[in-house]
Symmetry: C2
Subunit: 395 residues, 2 copies
């Protein structure tokens, strides 16, 4: 039984399928409950500012169009509520008799969900609280993979696929910086479409493996000598042996020395690595090699061509959260578990909020190959998630 | 009548459809001529290094797969041949009895084609020479638009569409730097999917309009106050009133002062503009606004999801070049002319090599609106070229 009303909200960085989860929650609520379902604008901020949208009667046609649209249709938020903020949330929920709380987001959001849930419980306010997973980084515990990841991985795989052909046609050294501050799952997707021994990416650097600049130069040198070119995937979150992010080191160091502002920019890591390579690499025929860096940026998380598998699972995760509440369960985080890889099948399960909240999942060792690649096992794991990919013709 | 053999080659920055033109040349040659058709590896370089591929009997199935693959399947080149280099080209062509020269590329390539053609003529070597247009910049004279442009425009329009929704969900100031050193056609494509008055891009800066940093700050300030956010399209080729590229000014200035290398990187322009905005903009509620820059990079020219119109026209341009040679015409550059916009129709024409060679087309004044936008006329002109676009749902 679903008593009272419900709220659904979206939080953190958007993805291509976060609206699928939103629509999954709304449609299942409307099927199973009698109360009103509110959408909070911009996550918890909309709750404390009383910015709610009534989604109880929104036409299904509108919802379907929203589901297929990237980014958070309700608006998102990066607010991290403290105790006072959470009290305001509880007050807002009480004032609307909201007894069901569905929060779509990453590990910070699951922690917010946990805190709100605990506050409600301790104040004697009966409410069901569910976290619906979302993150392109794929860094949530208990999940085989998270909604949003597969679509971002699809984008990264397609970008590297096209860029590899580009690099083969005009040979040089090309660095592409990929999202993922703590986990290398998205950077690893760069290798998905590698088909021939000379296909890029020839080097893949993950946050899970300590990054060393000198070793990087000799890696590039070796690949350049072997293939006459080198395509490189670098996670924005690569760090040295002490765990200090390389990007932060660049920014901090250069800021102190020159007060130079550009270095804190989004392109700084790729540009720095490119310049370092140019200076250190053995010139070929007296000429330094052609080196260029791209930072893939926001299209990774909001490109309007999502993975079909991702769309379906994100939708199902939203539905499943409502079904759990309907079954009388008080709280939890929804997680995707893999049933089989060939043929691909997955299922939704409920885990405890505390199993996911504010924790970070990393690439398991069996997904990593040496210090500069992903494993075949990783590719096999990823392949069924991204959907159909374009073919490649060669002469 | 098509006598002797033929060569086809690809030059300059790759596009998503340059292989369509290649296959168009090959298939039409095979239908109309008896001689061998060679593909030169890496443009003119393959010719002087005797790296040719016989395409006379390549299976059509392979060619079709190649046609749908982005980037130059034969390999490309940025070599700009001098007189001695050109003599070597002529010698290579003579040695294989190549009497038909099909060169796919941009305005530099059409100039190479012109020079090779003139050298052949002056040395009494009878050869037909045709330039097949290709450039994502759309900066070739005599063309309504060039093969490669529509697919790149499709990528830019989709990237801005997704990013606009992302920016609306987490409001801030977002700068996206778009390719196009001299012409703003590709940057203008950022505005294609703007549907509502508050949709981004809110500001569009083209190389054709003098860029002023102070005016830029006040533009952003005004838009940020109006919409609570601001999405900005900036051409990599923006220049000041004296015609000096802003990117070059940043690079040069900072290099002199600090010997600082990062600033010459691909992300430098966007990062510099972002930092400038952060420093100069009025803080809102004591906090500086959230500013971030992406540089769209190579996916613009090699994203493996081309415009269908672009694919068709690029193919046809290749075919038409062979048909012109078959009709007994000695030389020329193929150009796309628009027949009508609603319904969309285009045709191929032949123009003189000297009409295109080493010249640059800019955005016409009627495509530009004020100092920071494109016109409705531009949007109407562009719309039929990009193919079907994803729908957008909103709450």
């Amino acid at each position: 039984m679903l008593e009272g009303n419900a709220v659904v909200a979206q939080s953190g960085g958007p993805t291509a399928v976060i609206n699928q989860s939103l629509v999954g929650v709304v449609e299942r609520w409307r099927a199973l409950a009698k109360g009103t379902i509110f959408g909070a604008r911009h996550g918890v901020r909309g709750m404390i500012e009383d910015k709610f949208l009534d989604l109880t009667t929104t036409p299904m046609q509108t919802l379907e169009l929203v589901a297929g649209t990237p980014s958070a249709a309700l608006g998102s938020s990066r607010d991290k509520p403290d105790a006072a903020y959470c009290q305001k949330i509880i007050a807002a929920l009480k004032s609307r008799d909201i007894r069901n709380y569905f929060y779509i987001g990453g590990n910070d959001s699951s922690d917010t969900c946990r805190i709100v849930n605990e506050l409600a419980t301790s104040s004697g306010y009966q409410m069901r609280s569910f976290h619906v997973p979302k993150t392109v980084d794929n860094d949530l515990m208990e999940n085989d993979h998270t909604p949003g990841y597969a679509s971002a991985a699809r984008y990264v795989a397609m970008a590297f696929m096209g860029d590899n052909l580009d690099n083969a046609s005009l040979p040089g050294i090309k660095i592409n910086v990929v999202m993922g501050r703590h986990a290398g799952f998205l950077t690893g997707a760069a290798a998905l479409m590698r088909q021939r021994p000379d296909d890029g990416p020839h080097l893949v650097y993950l946050p899970e493996v300590a990054f060393d600049l000198d070793r990087f130069v000799s890696d590039v040198d070796a690949m350049f000598k072997k293939h006459g070119r080198c395509q490189i995937a670098v996670s924005e979150g690569i760090q040295d042996a002490d765990g200090t992010p390389i990007a932060a080191k660049i920014t901090a160091g250069e800021k102190d020395a020159h007060g130079n502002v550009q270095l804190s920019g989004s392109g700084a890591l790729g540009d720095m690595l490119a310049e370092y390579i140019k200076k250190k690499l053995t010139p070929v025929g007296g000429k330094p090699p052609r080196v260029r860096a791209d930072t893939l940026g926001y299209p990774q998380r909001c490109w309007p061509d999502a993975s079909k598998v991702d769309q379906r699972e994100a939708r199902e995760a939203g539905r499943f959260a409502v079904e759990q509440a309907h079954a009388g369960i008080a709280s939890g985080s929804i997680a995707i578990q893999r049933v089989s890889t060939k043929p691909y099948a997955s299922k939704m399960v409920r885990v405890e909020l505390t199993d996911v909240a504010a924790k970070t999942r990393h690439m398991p060792p069996e997904f990593i190959e040496g210090h500069r690649d992903v494993s075949t096992k990783f590719i096999e794991w990823l392949m069924p998630l991204v959907g159909e990919m374009p073919g490649v013709g060669r002469l």
